[in-house]
């Protein structure tokens, strides 16, 4: 029996005259990898930004575990258990691995000092080393090393492990394999499966349809700000998905006509 984690109902968002999202409804179930596909400008990024709190929505409802929620800031999303890994920009490269893992959620001593409170550095280092060992990143990484010294794949693994560490219910990956080599890409895809097997839900945004079929359970396709298809990965194929993305599929056009 599938359990719903996140449900969007009739979400709309416009920027000036541009209607970026129109009437988007979507559900994410527990422990599944949902691939979100669409051409450039289809509304994927806008949708992700709305879910992760980078901008609000104009209309519609968002429900988390069946309860209506308002996600207005990145902090709201994080507190609800939604962790977003933006394409090559979710880490501060000058900070150490350990400091990145806890950025925005730093364990402190004397917390009454607010932002001036001293970091609990031993706690940070200890937990970070533990985490690096647990997620099994092969190379022997020093938690004190700056992110700058890591390869692209290692950086993505760090970002994803951070999300897992904070028990995220939903991990959103925005083109996580951009700019990665073949070997590293396979590493990240393998990691996505592990994340799902550990019980997290994943929303996976990509342009690479081949990767989608390697990891996704469900495929949602957007075009011009609307969701135009919601398919089980096992019941479709690359050709069909590609034709829906580009808008060449007849049955899908009929479906759109019906909803109008």
């Amino acid at each position: 029996m599938t359990r719903e984690v996140l449900r969007l109902e009739n979400v709309a968002k416009s920027f000036g005259n541009v209607q970026a999202l129109r009437d988007v409804s979507l559900t994410v179930n527990a422990g599944e990898v949902l691939a979100l596909l669409g051409d450039n400008g289809a509304g994927k990024s806008t949708l992700i930004k709305a879910i992760s709190g980078l901008h609000g929505i104009d209309h519609g409802r968002m429900l988390m575990d069946g309860r209506e929620v308002a996600i207005k800031t990145p902090r709201d999303a994080m507190d609800l258990g939604i962790e977003t890994i933006h394409q090559d920009s979710s880490l501060a490269v000058d900070l150490s691995i350990a400091r990145n893992l806890f950025l925005g959620r730093e364990p402190v001593k004397a917390s009454f000092l607010g932002p001036l409170a001293p970091l609990d550095l031993s706690q940070i280092m200890h937990q970070a080393s533990e985490l690096l060992r647990r997620v099994g990143i092969r190379k022997n990484l020093d938690a004190d090393a700056p992110i700058r010294a890591l390869s692209g794949g290692e950086r993505q693994s760090i970002a994803i492990s951070r999300a897992m560490h904070f028990f995220a219910k939903i991990i959103i990956l925005d083109e996580p394999t951009n700019n990665l080599g073949v070997e590293e890409t396979h590493g990240v895809l393998r990691f996505i499966k592990e994340v799902r097997d550990a019980g997290h839900s994943v929303i996976y945004i990509t342009h690479n349809i081949h990767h989608v079929f390697q990891v996704a359970d469900r495929i949602v396709i957007m075009r011009q700000g609307s969701v135009v298809a919601d398919l089980a990965a096992g019941e479709t194929d690359i050709l069909q998905v590609e034709s829906i993305i580009t808008g060449a599929d007849l049955s899908e056009i009929e479906m759109e006509a019906r909803t109008m």
Partner: protein, 325 residues
């Protein structure tokens, strides 16, 4: 193990700055025995902390990825306004300074708001603010320096009192510098705020996505930088018992030079308070020493400029190497 720790230490930007500082001190001490004389040290240490205090704020601001060109103008603005209030409105020193600092905080707030909320680069905003503040100060005084502060001796001792260590005369400003440097060091390296500052300068979007209030931090840093410049200006005016509308001219450039020579990145993300302290000493000592060894006064900027370039090349090489491993 021990060797790799040495290598890590050598790679730190502060280390190369420190070695060059030691070389400079050794060279000047050998070249002219007056360099280490109590009189020269007194002169050096009277002036140095005033720039140093501004450099601390500038380091934090640069680490967050912004800078402030209006510090030199604010350095003159705060004491001039306070003194005018005392002379024309009959206020006592304490009240006049409170108003001076409040106006200064407003300048920092304005810088921060323009940069974060309207999204204009800090170069342009603070360049405009430099002209506005310097212009207002010049206009308010008609260009003339104002005569001595009077009254309230406690505040004056607190800000500009002096004492002797051996034969070297030190001012209260050195204590302010030490205390503020310790505070800035703690904030940048050990506090939650310091983690945020480095993260914002390194990757602002990532910091925001992690729930860090990036705009609020930047605005606060602009205010802190302005307030520190005002404090330095007030200390300076009290020390020489005069507030000049042209005081602090081009300090912004000297302070930024001190900070980057120390190893803080102009592009943000990497800041070092220790490096800044070294940079402050290095630039002041070179200015002082070059005159003592007989280089004509008009030529000393050649050496300062050359030194800044050399240090930046060293830091950039070290940084590249650390990224590759």
């Amino acid at each position: 193990m021990n060797q790799s720790r040495w290598r890590a230490l050598l790679r730190k930007p502060e280390t190369s700055s420190f070695l060059i500082l030691c070389l400079a001190i050794a060279f000047f001490a050998l070249a002219n025995d007056r360099f280490l004389s109590p009189l020269n040290l007194s002169n050096l240490l009277a002036f140095l902390p005033e720039l140093g205090i501004i450099a601390l704020g500038m380091t934090l601001l640069l680490t967050a990825g912004e800078f402030d060109l209006s510090v030199g103008a604010v350095f003159a603005f705060c004491p001039v306004i306070s003194l005018l209030l005392m002379q024309h409105a009959g206020m006592d020193l304490g009240l006049a300074l409170i108003i001076g600092f409040a106006l200064t905080a407003a300048i920092g707030l304005a810088n921060g708001l323009f940069v974060t909320k309207i999204g204009i680069s800090s170069f342009l905003v603070t360049l405009a603010m430099l002209l506005l503040v310097r212009g207002s100060t010049l206009f308010a005084t008609q260009g003339f320096p104002l005569a001595s502060f009077s009254g309230d001796t406690f505040l004056r001792t607190l800000l500009a009192g002096s004492f002797y260590v051996g034969q070297v005369r030190l001012h209260a400003s050195i204590i302010w510098f030490v205390v503020l440097a310790a505070l800035a060091y703690y904030v940048l390296n050990y506090s939650k705020l310091g983690n945020w500052i480095s993260a914002i300068g390194s990757n602002r979007n990532a910091a925001i996505a992690r729930g860090v209030p990036a705009d609020a931090v930047k605005i606060a840093l602009f205010m802190v930088t302005s307030l520190l410049a005002a404090l330095a200006g007030t200390i300076s005016a009290l020390r020489i018992a005069s507030a000049s509308p042209v005081a602090g001219d081009q300090y912004e450039l000297e302070v930024i030079a001190m900070v980057v020579v120390g190893g803080t990145a102009l592009t943000g993300g990497r800041g070092t308070i220790i490096g800044t302290i070294i940079g402050v000493f290095l630039l002041r000592i070179i200015r002082n020493g070059i005159v003592l060894v007989g280089v004509p006064g008009l030529a000393f900027n050649i050496f300062v400029g050359g030194l800044i370039l050399v240090m930046l090349v060293v830091h950039s090489l070290l940084h590249k190497r650390s990224a590759r491993t």
